[in-house]
């Protein structure tokens, strides 16, 4: 059993509220949920939608076809009426949409009128809509009532009650007027919906870096209340639990959510969040904070990151740990501010002048985002290097269900020398040569030892020098010694599906979910596996898992990327020499839908058959 509910309308009409409440409801009811959003760069008007897919089995992507479309305006009807499943229904309020459709395929519900009648408040129309969906699906209202109570309790009992009656009225109306609705989540899945829990594909998910991928392993329908998390909150929680104490940034979609999350947390926890005057200041502040002794982070999108590049090299030269969150969006320049792309990988891999080690982690799901954020903080501080969390608008805005997050799964070790440690130190040199290349990092002011560092080439003390010998030793220390150690920390890519696959679908970052689901689907009839990279730089070695062997043994290898030039494939060739047999690229600013990817993979298959 699975359904997709899409809510469409203009910015400002509240479709985000409807969508997110529905998603939460299904998650609390124990379903697997996957949501994604599509919106324009404007505050009011335009056309946006919020899509909620839920099922009693593992899902990790969106589909193109819709079972229930909640249309808040005419454009929504026009744009999406061709995307309905057979038996699907477009739900709308003729008073808002100012048009009458149907009756086939449409369900008229006077949201506004019901809101006025039951709560005397137009603003309740979204609650009516949510109630109506519950009614159509034959779901009980208890969970919704709880949710409404939680949400509105701060506004007083009256508002809660108004909302609950509005929801009830919506539900009642729907149950009454949708007698022939095919949607019933209590009954067997409707025709066309697939259940691939019994998928034959052997999973070697345990090779995955970021904890085992529990969010897709449980498939018992409506088993228990689930966590619902998007990529933004996942990064925020990861940073918080990693001990991030300073976050400086300049607003930029799709990274602002992380800043707002941290700002909100600063109301309760010891955490300073400062909006900088520009991105240059943002990264320099994060570096200053780290020098002063706390874990720090900044976040931005590609255009803002462009302004941080000099700061990156400053972090590298002064060996100051810093974590940088980059949310990709279609570019170059301003591009599509609210849409998605994987166009910044090579940029991050090579940006800035000079040579130094860096870490790039590109999570594929909120769960990976949480644990990899933890890993970014740990590696940044352990090796005193910059570490990136590379996300994108798609991951930032998609919600996944998961069973839970384990704070203990995030390592926390304070690598800095504090007052106590420094007492024992006789002479302190910020950039002392060491076997590992990692020098002791003291908190300035915590002792009489001076902490000196410089963006110029410097000696062990941190003072400016110009001689060739010191330069050679510093490059050795900063780069050549650290690099192999850092590479050993990187987990191999995840092979999901057949262990000896004839076909390997490779992907990285946010394409994880959709490729996994596609591979599971194709795995029913093909010998296929997904190879997903979430830890990208230093590029994973093959000691722990010889993924190159798997690729070379495969008959068909396809690299799926949300960009035009196959950036990951370029990096793969540069690092390993491996060349993919085929590529699937999408660069229109939209993420891959499951069915669309399946089509593309079939096409590629036929071309190579």
């Amino acid at each position: 059993m699975e359904y997709t509910i899409r809510t469409g309308g203009q910015a400002g009409q509240g479709l985000q509220t409807i969508g997110s409440v529905l998603a939460k409801l299904f998650a609390r009811s124990g379903f697997q949920v996957f949501t994604h959003q599509d919106y324009m760069s404007r505050i009011r008007g335009g056309h946006n939608y919020y899509q909620v897919r839920f099922a009693d089995h593992s899902i990790s992507s969106s589909r193109s076809l819709v079972d229930i479309l909640i249309a808040l305006d005419r454009t929504t009807v026009e744009e999406h009426r061709d995307s309905m499943t057979p038996g699907g229904l477009i739900v709308y309020d003729p008073a808002t949409v100012k048009e009458k459709y149907g009756p086939e395929g449409f369900l008229e519900i006077p949201f506004r009128q019901i809101a006025m009648d039951t709560a005397g408040n137009r603003l309740m129309e979204n609650t009516v809509a949510v109630g109506a969906i519950m009614g159509m699906l034959g779901m009980e209202l208890q969970t919704l009532e709880e949710l409404l109570t939680e949400t509105f309790v701060r506004k007083g009992r009256e508002v809660v009650d108004q909302n609950i009656s509005a929801a009830k009225a919506g539900s009642d109306f729907a149950r009454k007027n949708c007698g022939d609705c095919a949607f019933d989540i209590a009954v067997t899945p409707p025709a066309g919906a697939e259940n691939n829990d019994s998928g034959a594909s052997a999973k070697t998910d345990s090779t995955n870096s970021a904890k085992s991928v529990t969010e897709t392993d449980s498939a018992s329908p409506a088993s228990s209340k689930k966590m619902l998390l998007d990529g933004t909150v996942a990064v925020g929680l990861g940073a918080l639990i990693s001990g991030c104490r300073f976050y400086s940034a300049y607003p930029m979609t799709p990274s602002t959510g992380v800043m707002n999350f941290m700002a909100d947390q600063s109301r309760k926890h010891s955490l300073v969040v400062e909006q900088a005057e520009d991105e240059i200041a943002a990264i320099n502040m994060a570096i200053g904070a780290s020098y002063a002794g706390v874990r720090s982070m900044t976040g931005t999108a590609g255009g803002g990151y462009a302004l941080m590049v000099e700061g990156l090299s400053l972090a590298a030269m002064t060996e100051t740990p810093v974590v940088i969150f980059v949310g990709q969006r279609p570019a170059p320049a301003t591009g599509f501010p609210t849409r998605t792309e994987q166009g910044d990988l090579l940029n991050l891999a090579h940006s800035s002048h000079g040579e130094f080690p860096r870490v790039i982690l590109a999570p594929g799901s909120p769960e990976q985002a949480f644990y990899l954020t933890g890993k970014a903080f740990d590696l940044a501080e352990k090796y005193q290097v910059p570490a990136f969390i590379l996300s994108d608008q798609y991951l930032a805005d998609t919600e996944w269900t998961l069973d839970g997050l384990d704070a203990g799964g995030i390592p926390y070790h304070d690598y800095r020398l504090r007052a106590g440690d420094l007492e024992k130190v006789e002479t302190y040199r910020r950039h002392a040569y060491t076997e590992s290349g990692v020098s002791p990092m003291a908190e300035p002011g915590a002792s009489r030892h001076l902490v000196v560092t410089d963006s110029d080439e410097h000696d062990e003390d941190g003072h400016l020098v110009e001689d060739a010998e010191t330069r050679n030793r510093m490059v050795d220390k900063r780069l050549l010694r650290k690099l192999p150690l850092l590479r050993d920390e990187i987990s191999p890519p995840l092979l999901h599906g057949n262990e000896h696959p004839e076909t390997v679908i490779c992907c990285w970052g946010s394409n994880y979910g959709v490729v996994m689901e596609a591979v599971d689907r194709l795995g029913e009839s093909e010998n296929i596996a997904m190879l997903h990279f979430s830890e990208i730089l230093p590029f994973p070695g093959t000691k722990e898992f010889d993924y190159l062997h798997v690729l070379r043994e495969a008959k068909k290898t396809v690299c799926v990327e949300n960009n035009a030039t196959s950036q990951f494939a370029h990096l793969m060739r540069a690092e390993t020499g491996f060349v993919f047999g085929a590529h699937v690229n999408k660069y229109d600013g939209r993420p891959f839908m499951l069915d669309e990817l399946l089509d593309e993979l079939r096409k590629v298959g036929e071309a190579h058959a």
Binding site: I241, H269, A276, G288, E310
Partner: protein, 284 residues
Amino acid sequence: MPELEEFRGQNPAWCPGCGNLQILRTFKLAMVALGIEPHEITIVSGIGQAGKFPHYTRCNTFNGLHGRTLPVAQAIHLVNHEMRVLAVAGDGDCYGEGGNHFLHAMRRNLNITLFVHDNQVYGLTKGQASPTTSEGTVTGTQPFGVLYEPLNPMALAVAMDCSFVARGFSGNQEQLQKLMQAALEHKGFALLDILQNCPSYNKINTMQWYKERCYPVGPDHDPSDREAAFRVALEFGDRIPTGVIYRHPRHTLEEAMPEIANREPLVRQPFSQEDVAGETERYY
């Protein structure tokens, strides 16, 4: 109490006769006078001749990028508001490359100090015009002379309500030491623009030129009067006022920020994963 000797750093690589040498000497005297130990202060500097400053004394040092002293300095102070933070920049550094940070640092009003070694030229890169170079000055990059007005840091700072605005001169060590101490002791963001001769590249605004023009603002000047301060700030030509031009004591950012106001510095506030782990609960 620290001794002068404790502040001896590397040998300066500045030119003989450079005003920076006098600024350095005066700074060390100010430190001793204030009783600040080397480890109790962090100097953040940029790139330029002035940027080399912290290497020539002893202190915690973050010698960062050209133009980016203030973001680093502010963050250090936010993380450890018991650490004295001094940002040292050149006129190009601070008013050119770093102009935007300068504006917003004045707004934030953290309790930090900024020295601008204002030689009215780009020294390290060999003599191009800086934002404070006088109109008409010919350089290798400005063959027709600078064609527009210099930036007036004093007027700008008064307009931005900078909480302490002063001008010193490397050639007047006695006054300069007093100004340095006042700036370091001021609670809030303190700008001290220090006119500094550059014998190698600034052949116009020489030591002699400054000496003839610089005069201390008199006791009749009330630095708390913003309009009067603006009037004084506008003066730069045959006569150049030095001293404290404007002072507006008011709350600093660290006093307004609940995470750190009246609390231990952030860097010393304890952290444990358990304290924050519960934040995941909301997402069920």
